[in-house]
């Protein structure tokens, strides 16, 4: 039972991080390695807000989301727009976002020092019991928040004009241009939404861990794994992969020990990719031709 709660908690955060990576890849065609830094910057934004403006949970969460969205838009401005359609752009976007992720981590360290920062508690310190398992408020709060936000995201993607535009872009770039979709303008929306989700994940994760200059590294790597396992561009696939990865992580940590997490995770990747070379997405959307 406590494994289930940990799994859901991790899965919620991994989904938030991975959907951004997945949407960016499927819609814009590049792998955003700066996603981890966006995550970290948003965490610092929330921390700075709590220090200087207000420790109200709403304001702290909104600050994390806003800073994440702004950082995502900055990546659009600094990497996507200058490189879109240029020669060798795939490797160049990879390098540029990698550079930004180095840059961000070191600039943050220079600016705020290497010591970790703690965010105020958002959900209080309450806890409740399901059966004989104690569920803490921070975990349940994170799960509920993530589920609500993901639901809003899915409805927005399915119902709104911009959402349709984003889904169209993940399918066929040329078709999107033919129906009048301005990819460069939507790139801002995609990267800002991705950044906002990462920002939320950052604030939620900071309830358990601290914010530090390299705290985005593990979420980036896990997010990449989840996004790829999910089949890039598929939201149901990404969520399924997040649950799978989180379950493997929670089970390994409980029964084998934390140091084995990477090994079991790798085995999971190997098994999934050898069975489904394009990730889980295809399984869930069998319709994709």
């Amino acid at each position: 039972m406590s494994i289930l709660v940990s799994t859901l908690n991790l899965a919620a955060i991994y989904s938030l991080v991975a959907i951004g990576i997945s949407l960016t890849w499927a819609g814009l065609g590049f792998l955003n390695l700066a996603h981890g830094v966006i995550f970290t910057v948003a965490g610092y934004g929330a921390w700075w807000t709590a220090e200087h403006i207000s420790t109200s949970p709403w304001i702290v969460v909104l600050a994390g989301i806003a800073v994440g969205a702004a950082a995502g838009a900055a990546v659009c401005l600094g990497v996507y727009l200058p490189l879109d359609g240029r020669r060798n752009w795939e490797i160049r976007t990879l390098t540029a976002t990698l550079a930004i992720s180095f840059l961000g981590a070191n600039v943050l360290q220079e600016a705020f020092g290497p010591e970790p920062k703690q965010l105020p508690s958002l959900f209080g310190s309450g806890q409740f019991k399901i059966g004989d398992t104690v569920v803490t408020a921070d975990k349940s709060g994170a799960i509920v928040t993530a589920v609500v936000v993901l639901a809003i995201l899915v409805v927005g993607l399915l119902r709104s004009r911009v959402g349709l535009g984003i889904r169209v872009l993940t399918q066929n770039a040329e078709g999107a241009a033919i129906v009048g979709i301005n990819r460069r303008r939507l790139a801002f929306a995609i990267l800002a939404v991705s950044g906002a989700l990462a920002g939320l994940a950052s604030v939620l994760l900071a309830q358990v861990f601290y914010v530090s200059p390299d705290s985005g590294y593990v979420p980036l790597v896990t997010g990449l794994i989840v996004a790829l396992l999910g089949g890039l561009g598929s939201i149901p696939g990404t969520i399924a992969a997040a649950v799978l990865v989180a379950a493997v992580e929670a089970l390994t940590a409980t029964y084998l020990g934390g140091q084995y997490v990477l090994m079991t995770m790798f085995l999971l990747i190997a098994v999934v990719l050898l069975i489904r070379p394009r990730g889980l997405g295809g399984l869930l959307e069998s319709a994709r031709a």
Binding site: F102, I225, A270, P277
Partner: protein, 356 residues
């Protein structure tokens, strides 16, 4: 015109060879020579990696996994069975080829980014495996292996000289392999395949086999480099599998220019210099390296060595425009054929075709 008689890049390579041969005579002490040996190790690995990424077109991040595993194999056999350093190199090479073979099997089935993920995870796997395995020294690693630098020469100028020239020799070996593969039949086959895979198939080129061959050759050499590393430092530790080291190597290749041995050497030299020589600058040196990476990727299309070509292309476009390219349709293909960094849509559209 003697320039036409000599092979392309003759000037650069002969200058590099001369500098390489006589550098220790003017160098100032073991510290610098040690950096040069480290340069030779990284550069050899990068040259092989660029063979995999560029020539074979395989998006593999297994470089450090292969080299590190081979280093471990060599160190382990030296400590366990007391074998000497030449045998360590042989074992490392064989082990590299073996790991390469195992890694290559999924490459047939997986494409691009997914293979990148798998190979990237491999290094993480090795890192955590070696960290938790006591027989492999755990987190501190294994030390005490045999070395081509005699024990009593450690820290002396002559010891550093041996390390330097050994590394220099290895780098030349790696470059010769690069030349033989990239400039040889395999390279030609793969370049054809990159233009159009169906066309290459129609010609009877077994693209998969050619790719595998390149991957195995470079894996074996990466294994050799790994064993050399183990012998040079008398052992290995899990930090060889570090993510940040891998990214640093990747940055070296891309900053210099992927797909050109010269670019790989230049990129390796620049980033290694920043990394080793500005130690007192602290994080500022990493910021400088990251800024350099960012600027290179935004402003150059083939890394630093591609700049002259880029300028030529750019000025050709300007020349045609000034002559009134738009008014003369016949000049247009020339204009856009050589010029136009902006080929709108083509890259994303291609990415899309590959995905669907």
């Amino acid at each position: 015109m003697p320039k036409d008689i000599l092979p392309k890049g003759f000037g650069f390579w002969s200058a590099a060879l001369l500098i390489g041969l006589f550098l220790p005579l003017i160098a100032d002490g073991p510290g610098f020579l040690g950096d040069c040996a480290l340069f030779a190790i990284w550069a050899s690995l990068n040259v092989m990696w660029s063979l995999v990424l560029g020539t074979a077109g395989i998006q593999s991040f297994a470089t450090l996994a292969i080299a590190g595993a081979s280093g471990y194999a060599a160190t382990y056999s030296s400590l366990r069975w007391g074998i000497s350093w030449p045998l360590m190199l042989v074992i490392g090479t064989a082990f590299g080829a073996l790991v390469g073979l195992v890694v290559a099997i999924p490459a047939i089935r997986l494409r691009g980014i997914y293979f990148a993920l798998l190979t990237f995870g491999l290094a993480q796997l090795f890192r955590s495996y070696t960290t938790v395995t006591d027989a492999l020294g755990g987190a501190r690693g294994m030390y005490g292996a045999d070395s081509f630098i005699p024990l009593d020469m450690i820290g002396t100028k002559s010891g550093a000289m041996i390390g330097y020239y050994a590394g220099f020799g290895m780098l030349i070996l790696a470059l010769l392999i690069y030349l033989a593969v990239d400039g040889g039949r395999l390279g030609l086959l793969l370049r054809t395949a990159r233009e159009s895979e169906p066309f290459a198939r129609a010609l009877g080129i077994d693209v998969v086999r050619a790719r595998m061959a390149v991957f195995l050759v470079s894996s074996a050499m990466m294994g050799f480099v790994g064993a050399f590393y183990a012998s040079y430092y008398r052992g290995v530790s899990p930090s060889i599998f570090d993510f940040s080291t891998l990214l640093l190597l990747f940055a070296m290749i891309v900053v210099g220019g992927l797909g050109s041995a010269r670019g790989v050497l230049i990129g390796t030299a620049i980033l290694l210099f920043i990394n080793q020589h500005w130690l007192e600058a602290g994080p500022a040196r990493l910021i400088a390296a990251a800024l350099l990476m960012y600027l290179v990727s935004i402003f150059t299309d083939k890394g630093l060595v591609g700049i002259p070509e880029q300028i030529r292309r750019w000025s050709a476009v300007r020349r045609v425009r000034r002559m009134g390219g738009a008014a003369n349709p016949a000049a247009a293909p020339a204009l856009v054929g050589v010029g136009a960094d902006t080929q709108d849509r083509s890259a994303p559209a291609a990415a899309n075709v590959e995905r669907t």
